[in-house]
Amino acid sequence: MVDLKVQMGPLQLKNPVCTASGTFGFGSEFEDFFDLNRLGGIFVKGLTLKHREGNDYPRMAETASGMLNAVGLQNKGVDYFINSIYPEIRHYNTEIIPNVNGSTVEDYIAVTEKLNEVEGINAIELNISCPNVKEGGMAFGVSCPSAIAVTEAVRKAYDKTLIVKLSPNVTDITEIAKGVEGAGADAVSLVNTFLGMAIDAQSRKPLLSTITGGLSGPAIKPIALRMVWQVYQAVKIPISGMGGIMNATDAIEFMLAGATSIQVGTANFIDPQVSVKIIEGIEDYCENNGFNKASNLVGAIQA
Protein backbone atom coordinates (compact mmCIF):
# COMPACT_ATOMS: atom_id res chain seq x y z
CA MET A 1 0.00 0.00 0.00
CA VAL A 2 1.44 3.29 -1.12
CA ASP A 3 0.93 6.24 1.19
CA LEU A 4 -0.28 8.99 -1.12
CA LYS A 5 -0.65 11.71 1.49
CA VAL A 6 1.37 14.88 1.05
CA GLN A 7 1.83 17.89 3.24
CA MET A 8 1.47 21.38 1.74
CA GLY A 9 2.76 23.28 4.74
CA PRO A 10 0.06 23.00 7.43
CA LEU A 11 -2.38 21.51 4.94
CA GLN A 12 -2.49 17.78 4.38
CA LEU A 13 -3.78 16.46 1.06
CA LYS A 14 -4.92 12.87 0.79
CA ASN A 15 -2.99 12.60 -2.45
CA PRO A 16 -0.89 14.97 -4.57
CA VAL A 17 -3.43 15.45 -7.36
CA CYS A 18 -5.51 18.63 -7.41
CA THR A 19 -7.36 20.40 -10.18
CA ALA A 20 -6.22 23.86 -11.26
CA SER A 21 -8.14 27.06 -10.80
CA GLY A 22 -10.20 28.13 -13.79
CA THR A 23 -10.13 24.73 -15.41
CA PHE A 24 -12.45 22.80 -13.15
CA GLY A 25 -15.25 25.28 -12.48
CA PHE A 26 -16.45 24.68 -8.94
CA GLY A 27 -16.09 20.93 -9.24
CA SER A 28 -19.72 20.03 -9.77
CA GLU A 29 -19.27 20.31 -13.55
CA PHE A 30 -17.27 17.08 -13.29
CA GLU A 31 -19.56 15.17 -10.95
CA ASP A 32 -20.92 13.05 -13.80
CA PHE A 33 -17.45 11.91 -14.73
CA PHE A 34 -15.88 10.69 -11.52
CA ASP A 35 -16.08 10.71 -7.75
CA LEU A 36 -14.68 14.09 -6.74
CA ASN A 37 -13.92 12.79 -3.26
CA ARG A 38 -10.93 11.05 -4.75
CA LEU A 39 -9.12 14.30 -5.49
CA GLY A 40 -6.37 15.71 -3.31
CA GLY A 41 -7.96 19.10 -3.69
CA ILE A 42 -9.94 21.39 -5.95
CA PHE A 43 -8.63 24.87 -6.66
CA VAL A 44 -11.85 26.58 -7.63
CA LYS A 45 -12.32 29.35 -10.19
CA GLY A 46 -10.69 32.71 -9.40
CA LEU A 47 -12.73 34.93 -7.07
CA THR A 48 -12.77 38.70 -6.79
CA LEU A 49 -14.41 41.01 -4.30
CA LYS A 50 -17.14 42.12 -6.68
CA HIS A 51 -18.92 40.36 -9.53
CA ARG A 52 -16.88 40.49 -12.75
CA GLU A 53 -18.19 40.00 -16.27
CA GLY A 54 -14.80 38.93 -17.58
CA ASN A 55 -13.52 39.84 -21.02
CA ASP A 56 -15.41 40.07 -24.27
CA TYR A 57 -15.74 37.25 -26.75
CA PRO A 58 -13.59 35.71 -28.24
CA ARG A 59 -11.75 34.41 -25.22
CA MET A 60 -10.10 31.26 -26.48
CA ALA A 61 -7.79 30.15 -29.25
CA GLU A 62 -6.21 26.78 -29.85
CA THR A 63 -2.44 26.68 -30.37
CA ALA A 64 0.11 23.94 -31.03
CA SER A 65 -0.23 21.57 -28.04
CA GLY A 66 -1.94 24.27 -26.05
CA MET A 67 -4.53 26.98 -25.84
CA LEU A 68 -4.77 30.68 -25.10
CA ASN A 69 -7.47 31.96 -22.79
CA ALA A 70 -8.59 35.44 -21.93
CA VAL A 71 -11.42 34.70 -19.55
CA GLY A 72 -10.50 37.60 -17.29
CA LEU A 73 -11.73 36.26 -13.96
CA GLN A 74 -15.43 36.14 -14.73
CA ASN A 75 -17.12 35.33 -11.42
CA LYS A 76 -20.00 36.44 -9.22
CA GLY A 77 -17.85 37.73 -6.39
CA VAL A 78 -16.61 36.18 -3.18
CA ASP A 79 -19.87 36.69 -1.27
CA TYR A 80 -21.83 34.77 -3.86
CA PHE A 81 -19.24 32.01 -3.65
CA ILE A 82 -19.47 31.83 0.12
CA ASN A 83 -23.24 32.04 0.31
CA SER A 84 -24.44 30.18 -2.77
CA ILE A 85 -21.67 28.01 -4.20
CA TYR A 86 -19.65 26.75 -1.28
CA PRO A 87 -22.67 25.29 0.57
CA GLU A 88 -23.32 23.14 -2.52
CA ILE A 89 -19.82 21.75 -2.76
CA ARG A 90 -18.61 21.66 0.84
CA HIS A 91 -19.80 18.10 1.32
CA TYR A 92 -17.01 16.83 -0.93
CA ASN A 93 -14.41 15.02 1.07
CA THR A 94 -11.53 16.92 -0.50
CA GLU A 95 -9.91 20.29 0.08
CA ILE A 96 -11.77 23.13 -1.63
CA ILE A 97 -9.22 25.87 -2.19
CA PRO A 98 -10.43 29.25 -3.40
CA ASN A 99 -8.23 31.25 -5.77
CA VAL A 100 -8.06 34.86 -4.57
CA ASN A 101 -7.74 37.80 -6.93
CA GLY A 102 -7.73 41.57 -6.73
CA SER A 103 -6.87 44.79 -8.49
CA THR A 104 -5.40 46.36 -5.35
CA VAL A 105 -3.87 45.03 -2.16
CA GLU A 106 -7.04 46.17 -0.36
CA ASP A 107 -9.13 43.99 -2.69
CA TYR A 108 -6.99 40.96 -1.94
CA ILE A 109 -7.29 41.61 1.79
CA ALA A 110 -11.05 42.04 1.62
CA VAL A 111 -11.54 38.75 -0.24
CA THR A 112 -9.16 36.96 2.08
CA GLU A 113 -10.83 38.25 5.25
CA LYS A 114 -14.15 36.87 4.07
CA LEU A 115 -12.67 33.47 3.24
CA ASN A 116 -10.82 33.36 6.54
CA GLU A 117 -14.18 33.10 8.29
CA VAL A 118 -15.45 30.18 6.23
CA GLU A 119 -15.43 26.94 8.17
CA GLY A 120 -14.20 24.01 6.09
CA ILE A 121 -11.95 26.05 3.84
CA ASN A 122 -8.45 25.30 5.01
CA ALA A 123 -6.37 27.06 2.40
CA ILE A 124 -6.44 29.78 -0.20
CA GLU A 125 -4.41 30.27 -3.33
CA LEU A 126 -3.32 33.86 -3.80
CA ASN A 127 -3.27 34.52 -7.53
CA ILE A 128 -0.73 37.21 -8.32
CA SER A 129 -0.26 35.94 -11.82
CA CYS A 130 -3.43 36.32 -13.87
CA PRO A 131 -2.35 37.70 -17.26
CA ASN A 132 -5.89 38.47 -18.38
CA VAL A 133 -6.94 41.47 -16.33
CA LYS A 134 -5.99 45.09 -16.89
CA GLU A 135 -5.35 45.98 -13.27
CA GLY A 136 -3.63 43.94 -10.60
CA GLY A 137 -3.25 40.27 -11.44
CA MET A 138 0.06 39.54 -13.08
CA ALA A 139 1.37 43.02 -12.28
CA PHE A 140 1.74 41.89 -8.66
CA GLY A 141 3.47 38.69 -9.61
CA VAL A 142 6.17 39.99 -11.93
CA SER A 143 7.77 42.42 -9.50
CA CYS A 144 9.40 41.16 -6.35
CA PRO A 145 8.49 44.10 -4.08
CA SER A 146 4.82 44.02 -5.01
CA ALA A 147 4.66 40.22 -4.71
CA ILE A 148 6.08 40.54 -1.23
CA ALA A 149 3.76 43.40 -0.32
CA VAL A 150 0.56 41.61 -1.30
CA THR A 151 1.69 38.35 0.31
CA GLU A 152 2.53 40.09 3.58
CA ALA A 153 -0.80 41.87 3.66
CA VAL A 154 -2.78 38.72 2.93
CA ARG A 155 -0.71 36.71 5.39
CA LYS A 156 -1.86 39.08 8.14
CA ALA A 157 -5.46 38.55 7.13
CA TYR A 158 -5.34 34.78 6.81
CA ASP A 159 -4.88 32.21 9.55
CA LYS A 160 -4.81 29.01 7.56
CA THR A 161 -2.66 27.68 4.69
CA LEU A 162 -1.60 30.39 2.28
CA ILE A 163 -0.45 29.23 -1.14
CA VAL A 164 0.88 31.92 -3.48
CA LYS A 165 0.53 31.30 -7.22
CA LEU A 166 3.48 32.60 -9.21
CA SER A 167 3.69 33.98 -12.71
CA PRO A 168 6.11 32.36 -15.16
CA ASN A 169 6.41 35.63 -17.09
CA VAL A 170 9.51 36.69 -15.20
CA THR A 171 13.27 36.69 -15.62
CA ASP A 172 13.95 34.88 -12.37
CA ILE A 173 11.12 33.02 -10.71
CA THR A 174 13.30 31.95 -7.76
CA GLU A 175 13.64 35.54 -6.65
CA ILE A 176 9.86 35.96 -6.44
CA ALA A 177 9.49 32.56 -4.78
CA LYS A 178 12.03 33.50 -2.12
CA GLY A 179 10.30 36.84 -1.67
CA VAL A 180 6.87 35.36 -0.98
CA GLU A 181 8.41 32.65 1.21
CA GLY A 182 9.92 35.40 3.30
CA ALA A 183 6.61 37.21 3.34
CA GLY A 184 4.93 34.26 5.00
CA ALA A 185 3.58 32.01 2.24
CA ASP A 186 3.10 28.42 3.37
CA ALA A 187 3.55 27.12 -0.15
CA VAL A 188 3.85 28.31 -3.73
CA SER A 189 2.02 27.09 -6.78
CA LEU A 190 3.50 27.45 -10.23
CA VAL A 191 3.04 28.11 -13.01
CA ASN A 192 0.17 30.25 -14.11
CA THR A 193 -0.23 30.82 -17.85
CA PHE A 194 2.34 32.43 -20.16
CA LEU A 195 1.38 35.65 -21.87
CA GLY A 196 0.83 34.78 -25.52
CA MET A 197 -0.98 35.91 -28.63
CA ALA A 198 -2.61 34.49 -31.73
CA ILE A 199 -3.48 36.14 -35.01
CA ASP A 200 -5.79 35.10 -37.81
CA ALA A 201 -3.66 35.74 -40.89
CA GLN A 202 -6.72 35.83 -43.16
CA SER A 203 -8.66 38.53 -41.33
CA ARG A 204 -5.47 40.13 -39.96
CA LYS A 205 -7.07 40.32 -36.54
CA PRO A 206 -6.02 38.97 -33.16
CA LEU A 207 -7.94 35.82 -32.19
CA LEU A 208 -8.64 37.12 -28.68
CA SER A 209 -10.66 40.21 -27.81
CA THR A 210 -7.89 41.23 -25.44
CA ILE A 211 -5.19 40.63 -28.10
CA THR A 212 -3.00 38.75 -25.61
CA GLY A 213 -4.03 35.87 -23.37
CA GLY A 214 -2.67 33.09 -21.20
CA LEU A 215 -0.99 30.06 -22.76
CA SER A 216 -1.51 26.69 -21.09
CA GLY A 217 -1.19 23.03 -22.00
CA PRO A 218 1.66 20.65 -22.88
CA ALA A 219 3.37 23.35 -24.95
CA ILE A 220 4.52 25.04 -21.74
CA LYS A 221 5.44 21.91 -19.81
CA PRO A 222 9.22 22.05 -20.37
CA ILE A 223 9.38 25.63 -19.11
CA ALA A 224 7.08 24.98 -16.15
CA LEU A 225 9.08 21.91 -15.17
CA ARG A 226 12.31 23.91 -15.26
CA MET A 227 10.77 26.57 -13.02
CA VAL A 228 9.57 24.02 -10.48
CA TRP A 229 13.05 22.52 -10.41
CA GLN A 230 14.65 25.94 -9.91
CA VAL A 231 12.21 26.98 -7.20
CA TYR A 232 12.63 23.65 -5.42
CA GLN A 233 16.29 24.46 -4.95
CA ALA A 234 15.61 28.03 -3.87
CA VAL A 235 12.92 27.70 -1.19
CA LYS A 236 12.03 25.42 1.70
CA ILE A 237 8.24 25.65 1.42
CA PRO A 238 6.38 23.04 -0.65
CA ILE A 239 5.48 23.53 -4.29
CA SER A 240 2.23 22.79 -6.07
CA GLY A 241 3.44 22.21 -9.63
CA MET A 242 1.54 22.58 -12.86
CA GLY A 243 1.75 23.48 -16.52
CA GLY A 244 0.79 21.02 -19.22
CA ILE A 245 0.27 17.95 -17.06
CA MET A 246 -1.69 15.51 -19.25
CA ASN A 247 -1.03 12.16 -17.59
CA ALA A 248 0.58 10.41 -14.64
CA THR A 249 4.03 10.45 -16.22
CA ASP A 250 3.90 14.22 -16.53
CA ALA A 251 2.74 14.51 -12.93
CA ILE A 252 5.57 12.28 -11.73
CA GLU A 253 8.07 14.40 -13.63
CA PHE A 254 6.83 17.48 -11.76
CA MET A 255 7.16 15.67 -8.45
CA LEU A 256 10.66 14.47 -9.31
CA ALA A 257 11.56 18.06 -10.18
CA GLY A 258 10.41 19.16 -6.74
CA ALA A 259 6.63 19.54 -6.60
CA THR A 260 4.99 18.12 -3.48
CA SER A 261 1.59 18.22 -5.11
CA ILE A 262 0.45 18.92 -8.65
CA GLN A 263 -2.48 20.57 -10.38
CA VAL A 264 -4.21 19.39 -13.51
CA GLY A 265 -5.47 22.24 -15.67
CA THR A 266 -6.13 22.25 -19.39
CA ALA A 267 -6.06 18.44 -19.46
CA ASN A 268 -9.49 18.46 -17.78
CA PHE A 269 -10.96 19.82 -21.02
CA ILE A 270 -9.58 16.98 -23.08
CA ASP A 271 -10.29 14.17 -20.67
CA PRO A 272 -12.59 15.09 -17.79
CA GLN A 273 -11.53 11.91 -15.98
CA VAL A 274 -7.83 12.55 -16.29
CA SER A 275 -7.20 13.46 -12.64
CA VAL A 276 -8.32 10.07 -11.30
CA LYS A 277 -6.19 8.38 -13.91
CA ILE A 278 -3.27 10.43 -12.66
CA ILE A 279 -3.89 9.43 -9.05
CA GLU A 280 -3.93 5.78 -10.09
CA GLY A 281 -0.85 6.23 -12.26
CA ILE A 282 1.14 7.77 -9.43
CA GLU A 283 0.15 4.93 -7.15
CA ASP A 284 1.18 2.33 -9.74
CA TYR A 285 4.47 4.08 -10.36
CA CYS A 286 5.27 4.15 -6.66
CA GLU A 287 4.45 0.47 -6.34
CA ASN A 288 6.50 -0.55 -9.36
CA ASN A 289 9.47 1.54 -8.38
CA GLY A 290 9.71 0.84 -4.70
CA PHE A 291 8.39 4.07 -3.27
CA ASN A 292 6.15 3.40 -0.28
CA LYS A 293 5.23 7.07 -0.02
CA ALA A 294 4.35 9.39 -2.88
CA SER A 295 6.11 12.15 -0.97
CA ASN A 296 9.40 10.33 -1.53
CA LEU A 297 9.15 11.23 -5.20
CA VAL A 298 9.52 14.91 -4.40
CA GLY A 299 12.79 16.21 -5.79
CA ALA A 300 14.01 12.66 -6.40
CA ILE A 301 15.53 13.49 -9.74
CA GLN A 302 19.13 12.29 -10.10
CA ALA A 303 20.64 15.42 -11.59
Binding site: G22, T23, F24, G25, E29, F30, D32, F33, K45, E53, G54, D56, Y57, P58, R59, M60, A61, E62, T63, A64, S65, G66, M67, N69, V71, Q74, G217, T266, N268, F269, I270, D271, P272, Q273
Partner: protein, 254 residues
Protein backbone atom coordinates in the same frame (compact mmCIF):
# COMPACT_ATOMS: atom_id res chain seq x y z
CA UNK B 1 -26.28 12.72 -17.31
CA UNK B 2 -23.07 13.60 -19.14
CA UNK B 3 -20.90 10.73 -20.29
CA UNK B 4 -17.43 10.22 -21.60
CA UNK B 5 -17.58 7.22 -23.86
CA UNK B 6 -15.76 5.49 -26.70
CA UNK B 7 -17.67 4.87 -29.91
CA UNK B 8 -16.64 3.20 -33.15
CA UNK B 9 -17.06 4.65 -36.61
CA UNK B 10 -20.01 2.87 -38.20
CA UNK B 11 -20.01 4.72 -41.49
CA UNK B 12 -20.40 7.86 -43.51
CA UNK B 13 -23.04 9.33 -45.71
CA UNK B 14 -21.31 11.75 -48.06
CA UNK B 15 -23.52 14.69 -48.99
CA UNK B 16 -20.96 16.49 -51.12
CA UNK B 17 -17.16 16.81 -50.97
CA UNK B 18 -17.33 19.06 -47.90
CA UNK B 19 -20.39 17.80 -46.05
CA UNK B 20 -21.01 14.43 -44.53
CA UNK B 21 -22.92 12.54 -41.90
CA UNK B 22 -20.80 10.51 -39.53
CA UNK B 23 -22.47 7.68 -37.64
CA UNK B 24 -20.86 6.25 -34.54
CA UNK B 25 -21.87 3.17 -32.63
CA UNK B 26 -21.35 2.47 -28.95
CA UNK B 27 -21.84 -0.44 -26.60
CA UNK B 28 -24.48 1.62 -24.89
CA UNK B 29 -26.06 5.00 -25.41
CA UNK B 30 -27.34 7.76 -23.21
CA UNK B 31 -30.71 8.54 -24.69
CA UNK B 32 -31.67 11.61 -22.70
CA UNK B 33 -30.60 13.67 -25.71
CA UNK B 34 -32.65 16.73 -26.62
CA UNK B 35 -32.86 18.85 -29.79
CA UNK B 36 -29.94 21.27 -29.70
CA UNK B 37 -27.65 19.17 -27.52
CA UNK B 38 -24.13 18.69 -28.74
CA UNK B 39 -21.13 16.46 -28.13
CA UNK B 40 -17.45 17.30 -27.64
CA UNK B 41 -15.62 15.01 -30.03
CA UNK B 42 -11.98 14.02 -29.53
CA UNK B 43 -10.62 13.95 -33.07
CA UNK B 44 -8.41 10.86 -33.42
CA UNK B 45 -5.03 10.80 -35.13
CA UNK B 46 -4.85 14.42 -36.16
CA UNK B 47 -1.55 16.12 -35.37
CA UNK B 48 -2.03 19.78 -34.53
CA UNK B 49 -5.42 19.30 -32.93
CA UNK B 50 -5.35 19.77 -29.23
CA UNK B 51 -8.91 20.38 -28.06
CA UNK B 52 -12.13 18.48 -28.64
CA UNK B 53 -14.54 19.83 -31.25
CA UNK B 54 -18.15 20.72 -30.41
CA UNK B 55 -20.66 19.22 -32.88
CA UNK B 56 -24.46 19.13 -32.61
CA UNK B 57 -26.12 15.76 -32.30
CA UNK B 58 -28.01 15.14 -35.52
CA UNK B 59 -29.90 12.06 -34.39
CA UNK B 60 -29.50 8.83 -32.48
CA UNK B 61 -30.87 5.32 -32.45
CA UNK B 62 -31.36 3.75 -29.03
CA UNK B 63 -31.79 0.27 -30.49
CA UNK B 64 -28.55 0.23 -32.42
CA UNK B 65 -26.73 2.52 -29.97
CA UNK B 66 -25.80 4.81 -32.84
CA UNK B 67 -25.39 8.54 -32.83
CA UNK B 68 -25.14 10.75 -35.92
CA UNK B 69 -23.41 14.02 -36.69
CA UNK B 70 -23.81 16.28 -39.68
CA UNK B 71 -20.42 17.87 -40.27
CA UNK B 72 -19.15 20.50 -42.62
CA UNK B 73 -15.39 20.20 -43.20
CA UNK B 74 -14.03 23.67 -42.63
CA UNK B 75 -10.73 23.03 -40.87
CA UNK B 76 -8.29 20.48 -39.50
CA UNK B 77 -10.66 18.71 -37.15
CA UNK B 78 -13.79 18.62 -39.24
CA UNK B 79 -11.73 17.37 -42.19
CA UNK B 80 -10.09 14.63 -40.16
CA UNK B 81 -13.45 13.47 -38.77
CA UNK B 82 -14.43 12.85 -42.38
CA UNK B 83 -11.68 10.37 -43.13
CA UNK B 84 -11.70 7.88 -40.33
CA UNK B 85 -11.67 4.17 -41.00
CA UNK B 86 -14.69 2.05 -40.18
CA UNK B 87 -14.29 0.70 -36.67
CA UNK B 88 -11.91 3.44 -35.55
CA UNK B 89 -12.48 4.67 -31.98
CA UNK B 90 -13.92 8.12 -31.39
CA UNK B 91 -14.36 9.42 -27.87
CA UNK B 92 -17.34 11.62 -27.04
CA UNK B 93 -18.31 13.74 -24.10
CA UNK B 94 -22.09 14.02 -24.44
CA UNK B 95 -24.85 15.12 -24.33
CA UNK B 96 -24.00 18.74 -23.62
CA UNK B 97 -25.78 22.08 -23.59
CA UNK B 98 -29.40 23.07 -23.30
CA UNK B 99 -32.00 22.46 -25.98
CA UNK B 100 -34.71 24.12 -28.03
CA UNK B 101 -38.03 24.29 -26.24
CA UNK B 102 -40.70 22.66 -28.38
CA UNK B 103 -44.00 24.54 -28.34
CA UNK B 104 -47.20 22.77 -27.41
CA UNK B 105 -49.59 24.65 -29.69
CA UNK B 106 -49.52 26.75 -32.82
CA UNK B 107 -47.22 26.82 -35.85
CA UNK B 108 -43.46 26.71 -35.93
CA UNK B 109 -40.94 28.05 -38.42
CA UNK B 110 -37.44 26.55 -38.46
CA UNK B 111 -34.78 28.49 -40.35
CA UNK B 112 -31.43 26.88 -40.97
CA UNK B 113 -28.35 27.59 -43.03
CA UNK B 114 -25.03 25.81 -43.51
CA UNK B 115 -24.05 23.38 -40.78
CA UNK B 116 -26.76 25.01 -38.66
CA UNK B 117 -29.35 22.54 -39.86
CA UNK B 118 -28.01 19.73 -37.66
CA UNK B 119 -30.24 20.22 -34.58
CA UNK B 120 -33.42 20.39 -36.65
CA UNK B 121 -33.98 16.73 -37.42
CA UNK B 122 -34.52 16.11 -33.73
CA UNK B 123 -36.42 19.37 -33.21
CA UNK B 124 -38.74 18.61 -36.13
CA UNK B 125 -39.55 15.21 -34.64
CA UNK B 126 -40.21 16.71 -31.22
CA UNK B 127 -42.57 19.28 -32.71
CA UNK B 128 -44.30 16.61 -34.77
CA UNK B 129 -44.76 14.62 -31.61
CA UNK B 130 -46.56 17.67 -30.18
CA UNK B 131 -48.68 17.85 -33.36
CA UNK B 132 -47.19 21.18 -34.29
CA UNK B 133 -47.45 22.30 -37.90
CA UNK B 134 -43.84 22.96 -38.81
CA UNK B 135 -42.29 24.78 -41.76
CA UNK B 136 -38.60 24.31 -42.50
CA UNK B 137 -36.83 27.04 -44.40
CA UNK B 138 -33.38 25.95 -45.52
CA UNK B 139 -30.89 28.20 -47.28
CA UNK B 140 -27.76 27.45 -49.26
CA UNK B 141 -25.54 29.00 -51.89
CA UNK B 142 -26.57 26.55 -54.59
CA UNK B 143 -28.71 23.45 -54.74
CA UNK B 144 -25.59 21.45 -53.89
CA UNK B 145 -25.45 23.12 -50.48
CA UNK B 146 -28.98 22.23 -49.40
CA UNK B 147 -29.14 18.98 -47.49
CA UNK B 148 -31.49 16.77 -45.52
CA UNK B 149 -34.65 18.17 -47.12
CA UNK B 150 -36.13 14.67 -47.42
CA UNK B 151 -35.60 14.10 -43.73
CA UNK B 152 -37.15 17.43 -42.81
CA UNK B 153 -40.13 16.71 -45.04
CA UNK B 154 -41.02 13.83 -42.70
CA UNK B 155 -41.83 16.40 -40.03
CA UNK B 156 -43.25 19.28 -42.03
CA UNK B 157 -43.24 21.48 -45.09
CA UNK B 158 -39.86 22.34 -46.56
CA UNK B 159 -39.04 25.66 -48.22
CA UNK B 160 -35.69 26.36 -49.81
CA UNK B 161 -33.72 29.37 -50.95
CA UNK B 162 -30.51 29.36 -52.91
CA UNK B 163 -28.39 32.34 -53.73
CA UNK B 164 -28.17 31.34 -57.39
CA UNK B 165 -31.79 30.22 -57.64
CA UNK B 166 -30.80 26.65 -58.54
CA UNK B 167 -33.30 25.31 -56.01
CA UNK B 168 -36.32 26.95 -54.38
CA UNK B 169 -36.55 30.70 -54.34
CA UNK B 170 -33.57 32.77 -55.34
CA UNK B 171 -31.91 34.82 -52.61
CA UNK B 172 -31.16 34.56 -48.91
CA UNK B 173 -33.50 32.83 -46.46
CA UNK B 174 -34.60 36.26 -45.23
CA UNK B 175 -35.78 37.11 -48.76
CA UNK B 176 -38.15 34.16 -48.87
CA UNK B 177 -41.79 34.90 -49.68
CA UNK B 178 -42.86 33.24 -46.44
CA UNK B 179 -41.84 36.46 -44.75
CA UNK B 180 -43.88 38.58 -47.16
CA UNK B 181 -47.52 39.30 -46.49
CA UNK B 182 -49.42 37.52 -43.75
CA UNK B 183 -47.04 35.88 -41.25
CA UNK B 184 -48.72 33.54 -38.84
CA UNK B 185 -46.11 31.54 -36.96
CA UNK B 186 -46.03 31.24 -33.20
CA UNK B 187 -42.38 30.44 -32.80
CA UNK B 188 -39.20 30.66 -34.84
CA UNK B 189 -36.16 28.44 -34.34
CA UNK B 190 -32.92 29.27 -36.07
CA UNK B 191 -29.37 28.03 -36.37
CA UNK B 192 -26.71 29.03 -38.86
CA UNK B 193 -24.40 31.94 -39.57
CA UNK B 194 -24.73 34.83 -37.12
CA UNK B 195 -25.88 37.44 -39.66
CA UNK B 196 -28.66 35.12 -40.82
CA UNK B 197 -29.81 34.43 -37.28
CA UNK B 198 -29.76 38.11 -36.41
CA UNK B 199 -31.87 38.95 -39.47
CA UNK B 200 -34.34 36.21 -38.54
CA UNK B 201 -34.40 37.47 -34.95
CA UNK B 202 -35.37 40.96 -36.07
CA UNK B 203 -38.15 39.57 -38.24
CA UNK B 204 -39.36 37.73 -35.14
CA UNK B 205 -39.21 40.88 -33.06
CA UNK B 206 -41.07 42.89 -35.70
CA UNK B 207 -43.78 40.26 -35.73
CA UNK B 208 -43.70 39.90 -31.97
CA UNK B 209 -42.89 36.21 -32.14
CA UNK B 210 -40.72 34.21 -29.78
CA UNK B 211 -37.46 33.16 -31.40
CA UNK B 212 -34.74 30.76 -30.28
CA UNK B 213 -31.28 30.68 -31.82
CA UNK B 214 -28.45 28.18 -31.35
CA UNK B 215 -25.06 29.87 -31.18
CA UNK B 216 -21.59 28.74 -32.14
CA UNK B 217 -18.61 29.71 -30.07
CA UNK B 218 -14.96 28.86 -29.49
CA UNK B 219 -15.18 26.18 -26.80
CA UNK B 220 -12.47 24.54 -24.75
CA UNK B 221 -14.33 22.30 -22.29
CA UNK B 222 -17.98 22.25 -23.37
CA UNK B 223 -19.13 21.62 -19.81
CA UNK B 224 -19.07 25.05 -18.18
CA UNK B 225 -15.73 24.63 -16.47
CA UNK B 226 -13.51 27.11 -18.28
CA UNK B 227 -15.78 30.08 -19.06
CA UNK B 228 -14.13 30.51 -22.45
CA UNK B 229 -17.36 30.40 -24.43
CA UNK B 230 -19.41 33.42 -23.50
CA UNK B 231 -21.90 35.50 -25.39
CA UNK B 232 -23.09 38.93 -24.33
CA UNK B 233 -26.76 39.05 -23.32
CA UNK B 234 -29.03 41.66 -21.80
CA UNK B 235 -28.18 40.01 -18.47
CA UNK B 236 -24.42 40.10 -18.98
CA UNK B 237 -22.11 37.38 -20.32
CA UNK B 238 -23.68 33.94 -20.49
CA UNK B 239 -21.82 30.66 -20.87
CA UNK B 240 -22.75 29.20 -24.25
CA UNK B 241 -21.94 25.56 -23.56
CA UNK B 242 -24.20 25.24 -20.50
CA UNK B 243 -26.59 28.20 -20.48
CA UNK B 244 -26.83 27.72 -24.26
CA UNK B 245 -26.13 26.99 -27.05
CA UNK B 246 -29.83 27.80 -27.45
CA UNK B 247 -30.88 31.30 -26.40
CA UNK B 248 -34.04 33.27 -26.74
CA UNK B 249 -33.06 36.05 -29.13
CA UNK B 250 -34.60 38.64 -26.80
CA UNK B 251 -32.03 37.63 -24.17
CA UNK B 252 -29.32 38.10 -26.76
CA UNK B 253 -30.59 41.63 -27.32
CA UNK B 254 -30.95 40.85 -31.03
Amino acid sequence: MKHIQDFKVKGYRRLNPENYILTLQGESLETAIYPGNFAEIAVPGAPGIFLRRPISILDFNPVQNTIGFYIKAIGKGTRQLGRLAEGETVNLVYPLGNSFSAIENGKALIVGGGSGIAPFIQLGRALQHNNIQTTFLIGGRTKNDVFLTDEFRESGEVLVTTEDGSLGEKGMVTDHSVFKGEFNFDKIYTCGPDPMMKAIASIATENNIDCEASLENMMACGIGACLCCVTPTVNGNKVVCTEGPVFNTKVLGW
